[in-house]
């Protein structure tokens, strides 16, 4: 049960973003720019940063959602799994390994990011903008993870819900749906 009254058909972050639409607008805009805006990092790479940070913060909802988003963009589910297990041995480029390492440090604390980790990323070809966006994506998910868990939002079990969510993120990104979310009420499964 969430700590504050949220709409039952909107688990996880969606219920919160509908609860306070005024604060949600800049959060959505920032997310859309960082995860779907123009970038030399692919959408999938950026979803992997979100996945690794959410996983480290033990936020089940965000981890499942962004894992599903990365999987649907990649067309397979091995990379996201391996990245969560071990960044260094995961099947991603050396540049991505260096950026995911920075993201994990940011997750711990901003001060945990070392000059050495930055140098490594630059040596692997990461640009200043890529480093900037990696740090800000990681920081943004430290917000999301705390918002979602700090108010005890509902985390649906099973993978079906997240597949649907990933489909929505793939097609519409992070902007609020123009028609809102009332249509999702129809899909609500009846509790036993």
């Amino acid at each position: 049960m969430p700590y504050i009254p949220l709409e039952e058909h909107l688990p996880g972050i969606t219920g919160l973003l509908e609860y306070d639409k005024i604060a949600a607008a800049p959060i959505r805009e920032l997310t859309q720019i960082l995860l779907r805006g123009e970038s030399t990092l692919t959408e999938c790479e950026r979803e992997l940063i979100a996945t690794v940070v959410s996983n480290g913060n033990q936020c089940k909802f965000c981890t499942a959602a962004h894992t599903a988003a990365a999987d649907i963009l990649l067309g397979e589910n091995e990379t996201s799994q391996k990245v969560k297990e071990n960044i260094i041995t995961a099947p991603v480029s050396n540049k991505m390994k260096a950026l995911l390492t920075i993201a994990s440090m940011v997750r711990e604390n901003g001060k945990a990011v070392t000059q050495e980790a930055i140098n490594k990323a630059k040596a692997e070809g990461a640009t200043d903008i890529e480093i900037h966006d990696t740090v800000l994506i990681a920081a943004l998910f430290c917000l999301y993870n705390r918002y979602v868990d700090g108010l005890a939002t509902v985390t649906p079990a099973g993978s079906e819900f997240y597949k649907g969510l990933a489909e929505r993120l793939k097609n519409h990104g992070y902007n609020r749906l123009p028609q809102g979310y009332d249509h999702l009420k129809k899909n609500k499964t009846v509790a036993p």
Binding site: Y3, I4, P5, L16, Y19, D20, I22, A23, A25, P26, I27, E29, L30, I33, L34, G37, N57, Q58, C59, I102, M105, V106, R107, N109, G110, K111, V113, Q115, I118, D128, I129, I131, H132, D133, V135, L136, A138, A139, L140, C142, L143, Y144, N145, R146, Y147, V148, D149, G150, L151, A152
Partner: protein, 186 residues
């Protein structure tokens, strides 16, 4: 020295926003809505939550600037800010604010650290759903801002006078994103 090529001598988040104005716009709008928008928590109280979380994250720039903004907004009661930052339990503030700051401190650690009894305690002191929501979101947002500022090693001034002026400006004008310079990256 910051880790990326931001304008030199510009402190904290301002330098980062000048480097990347596109993301800076929603970041400043979020700060404005959370700290200056409609709420039954005063602006001084919300700035205090921001300063408290920043202190726990050891982010000097955000802690000093939001503490200064909170002092400016508290006016004659400005000692409250330093009392809270020194020792929350002993500070002379309302039991409601104490319980909300307790929640903010839990959020700073991790979302799942907030327990039903923390929420119950705040409700018993009269905190509303919206106040609990706003406290959690401000604490979560500063868990982001702090990491952004420190994660890129942005410039942190050490002169307290500089923060006093900054705090006054934040109290009077709120959060307005700085204009971008001719950074060679853009």
């Amino acid at each position: 020295m910051a880790y990326i090529n931001v304008p030199e001598g510009v402190p904290g988040i301002r330098s980062l926003v000048m480097f990347r104005p596109e993301t800076g716009k929603p970041l400043y709008e979020l700060a404005q809505m959370l700290l200056r928008g409609n709420s039954t928590l005063t602006e001084a109280e919300r700035e205090l939550i921001a300063a408290y979380v920043s202190k726990r994250n050891d982010t000097m720039f955000c802690m000093m600037s939001h503490a200064a903004a909170s002092r400016a907004l508290y006016g004659n009661d400005k000692n409250i800010v330093d009392d809270v930052l020194k020792d929350l339990q002993q500070a002379n503030i309302s039991s409601k604010m104490k319980s909300l700051l307790n929640i903010a401190g839990k959020v700073q650690i991790l979302g799942k650290e907030v327990k039903p009894e923390d929420i119950e305690a705040a409700r018993k002191e009269g905190a509303t759903d919206k106040e609990i929501h706003d406290t959690v979101l401000i604490a979560a947002a500063f868990s982001m801002f702090n990491r952004y500022v420190d994660g890129l090693a942005s410039f942190t001034p050490t002169d307290e006078k500089e923060y006093e002026a900054m705090g006054k400006r934040m109290a009077e004008k709120g959060y307005v994103a700085p204009q971008p310079t001719n950074n060679q990256n853009h």
